[in-house]
């Protein structure tokens, strides 16, 4: 399991690797937290259960699209609710655990405008998952 930043002139490109789909979500949570507040500890105080796939009325989404929408939700919750995710569980849906941004305890590293579909890569192999994401900052 890992995530690392890749070169991109204007924005922020990152690569995530994980052995399974759940661990990939863990990496995304860690990456977004790091981008927002650096190494500041984020406590588990509240939970959010966002509708990643558009709800029961929407057709099932492939994993690549579900994962993209999950990262997009992390960005949305951080901006709209100042919610910082520290952990995630996949239990049929998605449950995020974390706390609200507190300028007294959390470093303000940078805001994230969006995760973009430009250069989005989602690869699944016998070794697990490899994903490339580009964030607009």
């Amino acid at each position: 399991m890992s995530h690392r930043l890749l070169a991109h002139t204007a924005d922020l490109r990152a690569e995530l690797e994980a052995p399974d789909f759940a661990a990939l979500h863990d990496e995304a949570v860690a990456l977004v937290r790091e981008l927002l507040v650096g190494s500041s500890p984020v406590a588990i105080r509240i939970a959010r259960r966002p509708e990643i796939d558009g709800g029961t009325a929407a057709p099932p989404q492939p994993e690549a699209e579900r994962f993209f929408r999950f990262v997009r939700e992390l960005v949305y919750l951080a901006d709209a609710e100042r919610f910082l995710a520290a952990a995630v569980t996949l239990d049929g849906g998605v449950t995020l655990f974390g706390e609200t941004f507190d300028p007294e305890r959390h470093a303000s590293e940078r805001q994230i405008k969006a995760v973009t579909r430009h250069t989005y890569r989602f690869e699944k192999s016998e070794r697990g998952y490899r994903v490339e994401l580009l964030f607009d900052l």
């Binding site: 930043l5 890749l6 070169a7 991109h8 002139t9 204007a10 924005d11 922020l12 927002l36 507040v37 650096g38 997009r72 949305y76 951080a78 901006d79 709209a80 609710e81 100042r82 941004f101 300028p103 959390h106 470093a107 303000s108 590293e109 940078r110 805001q111 405008k113 969006a114 973009t116 579909r117 430009h118 250069t119 989005y120 580009l134 607009d136 900052l137």
Partner: protein
């Protein structure tokens, strides 16, 4: 686009990217030979070519000298589309709808301000929220009030006491784009923007107190209220989370629309819909709303900048702060342009590019009819920014568009790594520049060396005849997110 991309030199400042593969038109790049060398290995040229593949494009896919790799459209890209068979693309506007810059003139001399630059930096940092989670505790808009802001933009902010009537004539489109439809703005976008009006954000956004250190055209400078030794404030921000969400909301719809209308996309971030389609109408109404939110955002920040100067320098200075101009650099607009001798209405996308109407343009407020529209080009926080005015060359060649900034040369990651062993705020302080920021990461990522020298960028547009250099502005105090 598997074809190898090679530029053909037209003259010292113009390069053609010949039509190839699925391109429907040429690319036209404004750059010096050195800037072209810098593009080698960059994806930006590929993005210029990708834009040229979109249906209904009129004229070339244009790139300004601050061209660099974006997502979908390149940053520094301009493209116009015919409303009959062309498209609108959220990727041609960007997430930060109507990100733009506003320049204020302050009735002080640099000698008045320099001894108090730390105080003004602190005061501005305190009254303009920035960084992660930045919001205003003193202003949370109801849906009804948001609707008014979406419809009236900066004018609504003035109605609420955040400015003066005369401010509006110094803002592109009077600070109020037509076609905004509040009903097109989602609940999620509203939630993101509800308490963000009057906030800066982070990344490359800033409020910068500057002084005019050089004037290139004294007559034009005087007409714009600029003189050597004068003090200015440059504000760079946009539509905040509200605009980002509007873009996100409509990208999904546009992806589906592109498939439905059989539009082949070289990059999914270029997803688009035919102008005149329901999807385009929905985006147009929401984009206009977000653009007006951005105009109102810069208007509120202007109010707080005025108050900050008032607290430090008195009521007369506060009353004397005027807007030089406010211009968008991420926008799509319906404009009329002369194409092959015929007046045509076109949808012009500017992604990291500035409108640059020439003297005499009927859409300009009377006070700019003789000068041409001011073009504001920020540089980096260690060097300088420039004021230019649009000229006839831009109207003839670039759908009246010009460059918008320096353009990055280092990735944020590389900049942060380079800055790690240094103390940038101290280095800048030694140059007489105070930096106040919510985050060290932002200061590091925005280090001066992360950007190209903006002087080279404005020299190209000046010499190519797209705009005329008027004045250079040096930073004194910088507030970053």
């Amino acid at each position: 686009m598997a074809t190898k991309l090679e530029l053909e030199r037209i003259d010292d400042w113009r390069w053609r990217l010949p039509r190839a593969g699925a391109m429907r038109t040429d690319g036209l790049v404004f750059a010096s030979a050195a800037q072209v060398r810098d593009l080698e290995g960059e994806q930006a040229l590929l993005q210029v070519a990708n834009v040229a593949c979109l249906p209904g494009i009129v004229g070339p896919s244009i790139a300004m000298p601050d061209l660099h790799w974006g997502y979908g459209f390149p940053i520094g890209g301009v493209a116009a589309f015919d409303p009959r068979d062309g498209v609108i693309s959220p990727g041609g506007v960007g997430y930060d709808i109507n990100c733009g810059v506003r320049l204020l003139e302050v009735p002080l001399g640099v000698s008045d301000l320099r001894p108090r630059r730390v105080e003004i930096a602190e005061e501005l940092f305190r009254c303009v929220p920035s960084g992660v989670g930045s919001s205003r505790s003193d202003l949370r808009l109801t849906d009804r009030e948001l609707d008014r802001v979406f419809e009236r933009g900066a004018a609504r902010a003035v109605d609420l006491g955040f400015g003066r009537e005369e401010d509006l004539e110094a803002i592109e489109a009077g600070g109020q784009l037509p076609g905004a439809e509040p009903k097109r703005v989602s609940k999620r976008a509203r939630e993101r923007g509800r308490d963000q009006l009057g906030t800066l954000g982070s990344g490359n956004h800033f409020v910068e107190v500057q002084w005019v250190d050089e004037v290139y055209d004294a007559t034009l400078a005087a007409r714009l209220g600029l003189a050597v030794g004068g003090v200015t404030v440059l504000i760079h921000t946009g539509s905040r989370g509200l605009g980002h969400q509007v873009c996100d909301d409509h990208l999904d719809a546009m992806l589906a629309a592109a498939a439905r209308y059989d539009i082949r996309l070289p990059d999914p971030q270029l997803c688009c819909a035919p102008l005149g389609s329901p999807e385009a109408a929905a985006y147009w109404g929401a984009m206009g709303s977000a653009a007006n939110f951005a105009f109102a955002n810069r208007q509120l920040i202007t109010h707080h900048v005025r108050r900050a100067f008032g607290r430090l320098f008195g009521a007369a200075v506060e009353a004397g702060v005027t807007i030089v101009y406010d211009v968008a650099h991420n926008i799509a607009k319906l404009e009329e342009h002369d194409i092959d001798g015929r007046r045509r209405r076109l949808c012009v996308h500017r992604k990291g590019a500035t409108r640059a109407f020439p003297p005499g343009h009927p859409e300009l407020a009377p006070r700019f009819r003789e000068t041409g529209q001011p073009v504001l080009v920020p540089g980096d926080m260690g060097r300088y920014s420039f004021v230019l005015v649009g000229s006839a060359g831009a109207a003839a060649e670039t759908f009246a568009s010009c460059c918008h900034g320096a353009g990055r040369r280092l990735s944020r990651h590389a900049a942060k790594k380079a800055a790690r062993p240094r103390n940038l705020p101290r280095e800048l302080a030694e140059q007489g520049i105070v930096v106040r920021a919510a985050s060290r990461a932002t200061v590091d990522e925005e280090m001066p060396e992360a950007y190209k020298d903006v002087a080279g960028v404005v020299d190209v547009v000046d010499r190519a005849g797209l705009a005329v250099k008027v004045a250079r502005l040096r930073p004194l105090a910088v507030v970053k997110g």
